[in-house]
Point group: C2
Chain length 381, copies 2
């Protein structure tokens, strides 16, 4: 059996754990490593895995980034056909990709094209995400570590801002989250009665600058400073802001800067916008141990499916209905993922902190904040 494996989309802190777990189940020689994601596939850029490559990946499994090279690539019909011709020529039986929503739909298209051409190609998807926007599952590896980084950064940033409030009044943290607010909402995980971000804005809802100005003014009046969190994908007055364009995909970002400007101009307060940045998906010390373990699990399960001659599935994670957190590894038909579209954060979680915290608790791997148990009051009077 000849298996080709690749990584696609934005990396996560644990994506290489899934890769390492998957390749550890195969003998060198049976696997082909696709370099630079779908672009590499279209360009026939793959190498046969030798012992050296296998060892190399296993040794670096704790690194962020994507060891095979990932990237973004608009996979046109022409390129799909080209990719398939390479797979046929190389006699690849199974194609496995670690990726997000886009990757699963690309796998689906590839399989359909293979079927149309009468070539028996199995495809299996391994999920990764920082946004948690993949349908058909509870969550995917990568998200919990990003959520941990966001929760911690927000908590520490608020302590910093509180100390500097005679100098700086409003801080606006911008998280990743192109279409969904799971990550931005994690910013409130360490909130207590007397601490936490004042407002969190998510792409599931729509806001106006005027509304946000009212929120900020209210929070500032109440305590002399204000920290808000906003997802990069939020539309203000129906407009998404973007930083730049690359290969047909807009790099979002800048909504916090827009709010910073409005705070300065309309409220006459000092404001600082801050993107939490790439560290959300690559700052290894913030890795959640649960997340890492699950990244390994889905990698192993994918290898099982490949060996069992299964096809057309993405590996998934569901919660078991138990006391305490317990995950179950599932397999989801690709069309469920593909047809499911974006997995939005339910209003139930947006509006009720304790519900969302309970959901996060199992996977985020942050001990209960010691501070909240002892004292609700702040030293600074």
């Amino acid at each position: 059996m000849r298996v080709a494996v690749g990584q696609a989309g934005g990396p996560t802190s644990v994506i290489n754990q899934s890769l390492s777990a998957f390749i550890s189940e195969f003998s060198p020689g049976d696997l082909y490593l696709i370099v630079n994601g779908y672009e590499g596939l279209a360009d026939d850029h793959m190498i046969q895995m030798g012992e050296e490559e296998q060892k190399h990946i296993q040794m670096r499994k704790q690194e962020p980034g994507a060891l095979l090279g990932s990237g973004r690539f608009s996979f046109t019909h022409e390129q799909i056909k080209r990719a398939l011709s390479h797979l046929i020529r190389r006699k690849i039986d199974v194609l496995v990709f670690i990726g997000g929503n886009g990757t699963m739909s690309a796998l689906h298209s590839l399989q359909q094209q293979a079927e149309a051409q009468g070539y028996p190609l199995n495809v299996i998807g391994i999920p990764k995400t920082v946004d948690n926007d993949i349908a058909g599952i509870d969550h995917a590896p990568g998200f919990a570590s990003a959520a941990k980084y966001v929760a911690q950064s927000t908590h520490f940033s608020e302590l910093d801002l509180k100390a500097m409030r005679n100098f700086e009044q409003v801080r606006i943290l911008e998280t990743m989250g192109r279409n969904v607010g799971w990550l931005a909402s994690a910013a409130g995980y360490l909130s207590t009665e007397s601490q936490g971000p004042d407002y969190i804005y998510v792409p599931e809802h729509e806001y106006s600058i005027d509304l946000i100005m009212k929120d900020v003014a209210r929070a500032y009046r109440a305590k002399g400073y204000c920290l808000i969190v906003i997802s990069e994908g939020v539309s203000l007055n129906n407009n998404q802001t973007s930083l730049s364009n690359s290969r047909g995909r807009t790099i979002l970002g800048g909504v916090s800067k827009q709010i910073e400007g409005a705070v300065k101009e309309k409220l006459q307060l000092t404001a600082r916008a801050e993107l939490l940045g790439m560290n959300q998906r690559c700052y290894r010390p913030a890795v959640s141990k649960v997340d890492e373990a699950e990244a390994v699990l889905v990698g192993h399960r994918a290898a099982e499916l490949v060996k069992g001659n299964e096809s057309g599935f993405m590996i998934g994670l569901q919660r078991r209905d138990t006391i305490g957190y317990k995950a179950e590894v599932t397999q989801v038909p690709l069309h469920i993922v593909y047809d499911g579209g974006e997995r939005f954060l339910p209003d139930y979680y947006i509006n009720e902190r304790q519900h969302y915290n309970k959901w996060l608790q199992g996977i985020i791997d942050i001990p209960e904040p010691a501070v909240s148990k002892h004292s609700g009051r702040s030293m600074i009077l």
Copy 2:
């Protein structure tokens, strides 16, 4: 003996360890806690430390931010006189501040004013910094943890960028460092022959946009992507960029954005500017254990000096001339700090990575990167 203690300037990840160590040497009742730094001092905003406050601080000593409130404040001659009048009325014998360069010169001025008015006021300074710009010492608490965060973030960000190089070509990381390049230069700590930022720009030198464009183009041609690091205080063509103004002090930042614009326009490459942000001074999981231990040490030593009736000193850290790192706690006359001005990063460290790494090695508390030992080559071909 009545002692008043405050915190001033930008917080660090370990500034509350110095505070906690200091106050643990005094009985409740003997200490006055100054709220919000020099502004609180001028406004007579201080509270007598009771058992509750002492416990509160000791319990939260591992938090970032400043438990007493800090802030920035332009301390005019009028305000110095006002502050002194409060200290005299309250019969304060000793004034202690945890702060940076500006704080040490403010303490100096206060002591001189007290002397001129015939009031016996002792002053002692406890250093903190993320920039490492304090004269008369080797380094001060706060810097090493910030350096660790910068070194790690740069390393992880490069792995992330390398994985995404078909989508994003140039990343520009901006660090803190108003006048000195110690922190920006720490970005190269985890560099190996085949990895690490391509260029690091520090405020000690002057650069033109044209020079940086040549650097970026060269690095990009060589390997298909480019990561550079720049200190917020760098002047490009003699101009510092700033984000905003607050209370007479400019918030620096934006130089990376300027470079991003130039890369897009002049080199026609995709670029992303990223400020490493407030996490440099507040992301607790990045704390260096050595840094934290030294923050405790200087706090205790300050208490000893106070009890020994010493005055006019800042506590310092020097290296002992031994094999391996060993620090010595010293006391530096305030005028040495005050007259010494900014402590610049020597060219010796700017130009010779191994020398600067050796200096950092003792304090930064990052294990040798495992990757560099095993393999210089990158998986992505």
